[in-house]
Symmetry: D2
Subunit: 282 residues, 4 copies
């Protein structure tokens, strides 16, 4: 079992010493430490993970005990514990590939997570959810019922104490009200190498432009469509032989892998956000 501190603050002398002293004085053993100093912004970022087996502070006390130090540094911070499995909600529409990938990986034990529910605006993937014994909720979204249905979704997600929302090719745009309830907790996969081909039908856009590679981008959802902080990206090569249909087929593999990777990073608490960008401590 271990604890993970994610912290950012204005850069100053003695930060690593103070934090590592706090851990070692309480008999913790650091097993992983990543640090980044942004010399332009004069900001300090750290992810430190330590074994809590003989740690002298109880998990339940840790936040209170660490708070004075964090306040001294004027830090934004949080502490996560590996014994807590993150609770996921996966939003889908009709495509099954991104959902399938996450279900497989979680079953194989790749994620420290529990998939608490699958939410869709269509019924198509209900059987897939059932085959993994995961509760499936369908909220059919129209212009008229959107506000009401989102409120129901928020209530459901809050009741289930969801930590992370994954948009696994969910074809609806979430309202600002919805997004504001889950800051930097909603991860989307967009099927282009953003910022190229924002918006609808990026494979068609890519085909028309004649690019020699297509990409996929996983990012946190903010209220600026396709403009949230990027967590992971990848590309594959294409050629003039590929039709739009080929791009869709080839792109599926990218979408699956890039979303899976971004989720893995987030579930291991390796991603910090700063000014619309991410620091990813791989």
């Amino acid at each position: 079992m271990s604890a993970i501190l994610l912290l950012s603050c204005p850069d100053q002398k003695g930060l690593v010493a103070s934090i590592s002293n706090f851990i070692s004085e309480n008999n913790g053993n650091i097993i992983s430490l990543n640090e980044h100093v942004d010399l332009d912004e004069k900001m300090f970022f750290i992810r430190v993970q330590w074994e809590t087996n003989n740690f002298e502070i109880e998990n339940t006390e840790l936040t209170v005990k660490f708070k004075p130090l964090a306040e001294k540094f004027n830090a934004k911070w949080r502490i996560e514990f590996t014994e807590h499995k993150s609770k996921l909600a996966i939003f889908v529409s009709k495509y099954n590939h991104a959902l399938q990938e996450i279900l497989w990986r979680n079953k194989l034990g790749e994620y420290n997570a529990e998939i608490a529910c699958i939410i869709s605006n269509h019924n198509d993937l209900e059987n897939l959810a059932n085959s993994y014994c995961i509760p499936f909720y369908c909220f059919s979204i129209t212009d008229e019922n959107k506000k009401l249905n989102e409120e129901k979704e928020i209530e459901l997600l809050k009741n289930l104490e969801i930590d992370v929302i994954v948009l696994a090719r969910y074809m609806q745009i979430l309202s600002p009200e919805f997004v504001s309830q889950f800051p930097y907790k909603i991860i989307n996969i967009h099927h282009s190498f953003l910022p190229a081909f924002m918006g609808g039908n990026p494979y068609k856009q890519a085909f028309i432009r004649g690019v020699k590679m297509i990409g996929a981008t996983s990012h946190f959802v903010t209220n600026d469509l396709d403009e949230g902080p990027i967590i992971a990206q990848d590309i594959i090569r294409i050629s003039h032989k590929d039709s739009v249909k080929d791009l869709v087929r080839k792109g599926r593999d990218l979408e699956r892998l890039v979303l899976a990777k971004a989720l893995h990073l987030h579930l291991e608490h390796r991603v910090l956000v700063q000014k619309g960008k991410t620091i990813v401590f791989e």
Copy 2:
């Protein structure tokens, strides 16, 4: 020695048979054949290369002899001969890396080309040109003299019978009048994965957006800035640790390699243009 036919026309039955019969009836031996049918556009594209050692049509007669067939197909076409070294003009400004790469590769024999001149709007790279014994011309461009100087450049390029113009990080925008003189004969390198980050300072744009990879794109120059047909693209991964200066350093490698590859493809006559996109017969 060999001949290369590049041809595109509306798709119809018997095209490959007609073309390959023409070659074999005149005792040519095909050593490479690439073909593409665009089923949506109902267009046919071919690149076929054959040995001319025992070919019964002289190079000088070949165009005349092939013309009736091409007209029957309503084709756009050209024939190239490997004994002709393409004559290159390289345009540069102050950065030396892309120029250096091409000079070095050509000296190693990677290109079937002769670098006939280097043209710049600055004097910085004159010594490098001299060290390879290549004539260097400086045309300092201002708003006032641009038209006049471009006319002089065009005259020089025409006199030298230039086949290909390479913009090796040339920091001036060529006028439509200039570009129209050399349709699909001007190759540029842009330091982003187009269409992302068009225009100026793409590394800065990439840094601000927080992408996880940067790219480079080599394309034919048209009058739409950074929108010409793409010949080659590649990317490398970056992280939050990379400053803009790091991106510039890492991007140099990409720029060199992507431009070198696009030029290689073009000098081997492997690139056809159709509706703002390329067919690249690798």
Copy 3:
């Protein structure tokens, strides 16, 4: 509907003309043609695909009608028809990832194939087979029963008219007698970038050697273990942070994708074998 000719023979003048004439004279329309001349070995290879809708030779007559031409060239050749779905047998042991990937892709329609049976030396994956309604056969292999059980497997595969056998992380070595029944019809996935790390436990070997990337290789099975003709390979980057367990996890993604790609190429009849190597007409 279309026909695909795969042919190799000693290089000689007029090959493309003869083949394309045969097609066009019988009113076939070529939609794809790939050709390769090995100048060292003086060998010619071709894959040509043409629409058979108005083709004047019936599929059942085509082999007989084409034979004289092929004999004239002293060619090795075969003709495939896209209306025939290849019949697959998938061999597995305990790992499910490669099997799952193929089942899922086939269901999505990526392959022109029917999965006729899944054969295993363990029962672990029977439920997965059942969930896709595919017959599952378990042949538990011991030193004593191997010969007998392989004979039973061969009989089953012959009865089912299997075209392609996929070893989706099957942990038994097939005997030469078995392999000889299915020349270049058995595709394996090996979890290293062959020829590095042949034999058992390649991830452990990779970890010990301290390589900075791991790979996967899909190849035809011959009687030389891990030395059959390579169809597809890919790699991913790793670092000192990765344990053997991490390599297994990361490698799974590679194994799935590389096997899936090799199978895709084979099912589209894009792979020819020559002297222990493949020509892959992508």
Copy 4:
């Protein structure tokens, strides 16, 4: 200006705290910290870099002052200063590409290094050395004079206080006596993805095996040929169309980039060696 500590020792509680306290108590500001715990081997590795502008220990005193702490941990360690430009010796034979690449990059300021000499067993690259004003020494190696000439080389390298020896496609095998003088200070580039294709003519080996990608590997030289700790590797895709000559051409680009990257990592003091493998703190 900054100092860089590279340290490894048996893992124990309080290591990061002790080291960071040492720095902050002497008024140093950490700008980069990488750490790795090998849980299997119970070993701890760290690279920490701090600004020395206001640091209260002089560079010349730092080793003495840090020693007690290092001894307490039973550590292997060294401290480097960014104001020291590493002195390089580059060994070459006849190929110019790897040398050219390093010369270019150093001139562009990519390396914190001074190229003190170029040593060769042939005269071919003397002009290139001269054009960069770098002393060139030719030691023609035969079986008879090898011992004597290597002694002369060692003397020269010691006199020049060389920090790093780069084998930029040097075609001689260094004797164990030579290698033992420069432990983990000699960097080689091998033109394959090791451990595949060790020894001579790896491109030919790759061609014969029919791999679908070729690689390059940069590693520290030890007395086991091509088996030293790997620093960097990369690959590119090839196909059946590529002759051995094509592999040589394409491989050159890989060799250049992989060697350049490994050298960059080493010159930034980011590489630690442990049990025949490297920890690379990128």
